[in-house]
């Protein structure tokens, strides 16, 4: 537990992505099994035990500390678990702190009524950093400041690149804590874990944004075109071992879309866009948002916001891996498969016939449906490659003046919004750090504001007067009218009329746009 607490402590303060990876890597390299596997599960959010309520911590504190001193201390520190971790009477038990597996198994099995005594015993045996990690863990408030993806990259680096993060991703959902088979494979002590029939996630193939400069060199005849729909990219995995609906970030979102899962009575892995559709027409993204991030979904929600999937690609037909095939061949297989299986709640993405790029540009400009974001160009001969390989797939957005930025800070609003965190500062990646580029306080609905406010409160990592610094994990699409060079801003660029276009809960922060992406729009003005 000491090493895990130290890791968390450093991750919280480390801004750079590479440094976080190095910290994770050292942790995995130096800790024994099964400790590191439980640590990995805690970082990737795969631990499952009933979490304790903050009142448990408060009650423990009241039993051990002076109430006046506790109140002053809490007021000063600003975080309940941290206050208790720091002011808990110092280690009175020389047994040493519990190990992470010990904590995990106790939390899995302990009766609720025994929990306070167990936790108090652990706190007695620990120093403040371990106490804090324990308290955050048992209340489910563990914010590690590192994504599951970073952990997988760290594991990949342990192999010196022999095993890529995407390869780890592919076996991940077939594994369980403490991941001993995974570590054995990483350390060349065992074979690659065989997910067999487990419905594992396969990393998605992503498209590069198309720049005017790229357009010139493009050979129209080598490419196929499809509409880019304004939903969320998903992967449907249906095997003999189970059915899963994954977001592009490998989150399992099956439980939020039971009607899609029910429709997956086939054996295949498919790539598509999750949309709300009524009578074959795609509803605005806001409708889909009603359905996202829900643990359970009511029949009424399913009726009012019916979900569907527009299929783009086929990755597996039964156990046959289609990914090495060229796009044209996969498309033919997808069409044949669709005709044969005729799955409910799914349709095929339309292929757009065109002869030249100018013709395509015109179709793009004239696209009427609001749910069309632009075009995707795919090389006819492109295999399905995980990640964002350059030159194979391009996304050609209709409205270029948007960026996907990461929320960094939030502040209370004014007037009727003064009780909500409604003013946000957003950043883009520069190297592996985020640089603030814009502040926005409009563009969202009242419902979205309530959601954003709650998100800010639950993901605060620090407070400075009225400003909260939040965990850097929420991506928002920011629309703006123009970008200009600025010496007053640290980023070197100022954006005009930035507003929140939508909340991108599906997008991992690491995939938000980079500062270069914004700098490209400098001078490119649009009417407001």
């Amino acid at each position: 537990m000491i090493a895990f607490a130290e890791l968390l402590e450093r991750l919280v303060f480390t801004p750079s992505r590479n440094a976080k990876i190095a910290l994770l890597r050292r942790y995995f390299e130096t800790q024994p099994d099964p400790d590191r596997g439980i640590g990995l599960a805690a970082i990737t959010g795969e631990l499952s035990f009933a979490t304790a309520k903050p009142s448990l911590i408060r009650d423990l504190a009241h039993a051990r500390t002076d109430p006046v001193l506790f109140a002053w201390s809490y007021d000063y520190v600003g975080d309940l678990a941290e206050t208790v971790a720091l002011m808990w009477p110092s280690a009175s038990n020389d047994a040493g702190p519990p190990s992470l597996p010990e904590v995990n198994s106790a939390l899995q099995t302990a009766a609720k009524s025994d929990l306070p005594a167990i936790v108090a015993g652990w706190l007695d045996a620990s120093e403040p950093p371990v106490r804090l990690a324990l308290l955050k863990l048992i209340t489910g408030g563990l914010r590690v400041g590192a994504s599951a993806r970073l952990a997988k990259i760290a594991l990949s680096e342990m192999t010196g690149g022999r095993i890529g993060p995407d390869e780890i991703e592919e076996v991940w959902h077939g594994l369980e804590p403490p991941y001993e088979r995974l570590f054995a494979w990483i350390e060349s002590r065992g074979p690659k874990p065989d997910p067999a029939d487990a419905p594992v996630f396969r990393p998605l193939m992503l498209a590069h944004p198309l720049e005017p400069a790229d357009l010139e060199g493009l050979d129209a005849t080598a490419f196929r075109a499809e509409w880019k729909w304004d939903g969320i990219r998903v992967q449907l995995v249906s095997t003999r071992g189970g059915r899963r609906l994954y977001s592009r970030g490998a989150d399992d979102i099956s439980s939020a879309f039971p009607e899609i899962v029910a429709a997956m009575n086939f054996e295949a892995v498919l790539d598509g866009e999750l949309l709300v559709m009524r009578d074959g027409a795609v509803a605005p993204f806001a409708d889909l948002q009603q359905r996202l991030n829900r643990k359970a979904v009511s029949p009424r929600m399913m009726r009012d916001f019916p979900a569907a999937v527009r299929l783009y690609d086929i990755l597996f037909d039964r156990s046959e891996d289609m990914r090495p095939l060229p796009f044209d061949a996969r498309r033919a297989r997808l069409e044949a498969w669709y005709a044969r299986v005729q799955p409910a709640r799914m349709d095929l993405s339309e292929m757009i016939a065109f002869h030249s790029l100018p013709e395509l540009a015109e179709r793009r400009a004239n696209a009427r449906a609001a749910a069309i974001e632009g075009l995707i160009l795919k090389r006819a001969d492109s295999p399905y490659v995980p990640g964002r390989p350059k030159g194979l797939w391009w996304k050609w957005k209709r409205d270029p003046l948007t960026i996907d930025a990461v929320m960094m800070y939030a502040q209370r609003g004014h007037g009727k919004r003064s009780s909500y965190y409604s003013d946000y500062t957003f950043g883009l990646w520069n190297g592996d750090e985020l640089v603030p580029v814009a502040k926005a306080y409009s563009g969202f609905t009242d419902q979205e504001l309530i959601w954003l406010d709650r998100w800010v409160r639950n993901h605060t990592v620090a407070r400075f007067g009225p400003v909260r610094e939040v965990e850097k994990s929420l991506v928002l699409e920011i629309a703006f009218d123009a970008a200009q060079r600025s010496t007053r801003h640290k980023s070197g660029v100022a954006v005009r009329f930035p507003r929140v276009a939508r909340i991108r809960r599906d997008k991992p922060a690491a995939e938000a746009d980079r500062l270069e992406d914004l700098l490209r729009w400098v001078g490119d003005e649009r009417a407001a």
Partner: protein, 355 residues
Amino acid sequence: MLRPETWLKPFPYGLFCEPGGFFIDPTRPVDRAIITHAHSDHARPGHRAVLASPATLALMRARLGEDRAGGSQQPLPWGEAITIGGVRVWLEPAGHVLGSAQVVMEYAGCRVVVSGDYKRCPDPTCEAFALTACDLFVTEATFALPVFCHPKPEHETERLLASLALFPERTHVVGCYVLGKCQRLIALLRAAGWDKPIYMHGALFPLCRVYEAHSIALGELRPATVAARDALQGAIVLAPPGAIQDRWARRLVDPVVALASGWMRVRQRAKSRGVELPLVISDHADWGELNRTVDETGAPEVWVTHGREEALIHACAQRGLRGRALRLVGYGDEDDEGVSVEEVGAQAETSDQAP
């Protein structure tokens, strides 16, 4: 016994001993001052006559200049008593920084100890705190909240060295206050086996030289300014706390920014300073030490000069001790302020040499 409040009077700008006619650590120029230690909030320039430990006077001259350190300067060695206006006065070590003293006064059958800033944790760069029984103990309360429980300083330097091992290509810039923290950190690193040169911001050199003149070995110290950036890869660079976030530090190679301060115990404080590696090293007593010291002096009455006085007085009251908040103005913790005026001056002088 004459009650101490009849002859020892707190003014907003310092504690005044009426029969002796002197102030202790006054924050504005006075006729006669006894100075507990050379931190700038306690040792102000411009007093006519100054009495202090020899090391404190040497540090004051180095910081303030020969003439501003006091019109007349009287060094008083440890434990040597003198009588001023009927008050018997001597100095005992406070363990805070080199030369830091507690002022012991006896008058009319009453003994008062004014601790100044102090700590109980061993520090190789200064004389250890000497416990003196008394009727009234006047204490600081900088870290007087139960959340402040300083870890062993060796544990913190170990964390710094572990970070250097993990990131051997990154320069580790450690913010540390120019007087006391800097030299203690160097001594701790030397004790932990770091025998490579330690690089420093120009503002840190003058006081290190005073420490060395008092036989405190600091090993090889090099200016971070002259050395090539490459030589600083994997090196430890010390700088005043105010310099770690400015351009000076950003010009280093992918720096790990650390800060050595008792405030680093609280995450929010570390975050707000933009610190990547918070090191909890303090030259002040923590909550446990403050309460233990109060108890060990045997004093039934405690006056608190500055800090979180309400918490300490509350805790003392629960043990049946009388507490009084003096609310003296102008004292702080040396780490707590972003940059002191002195530091700004020193930085301005040296910034052109930055790497």
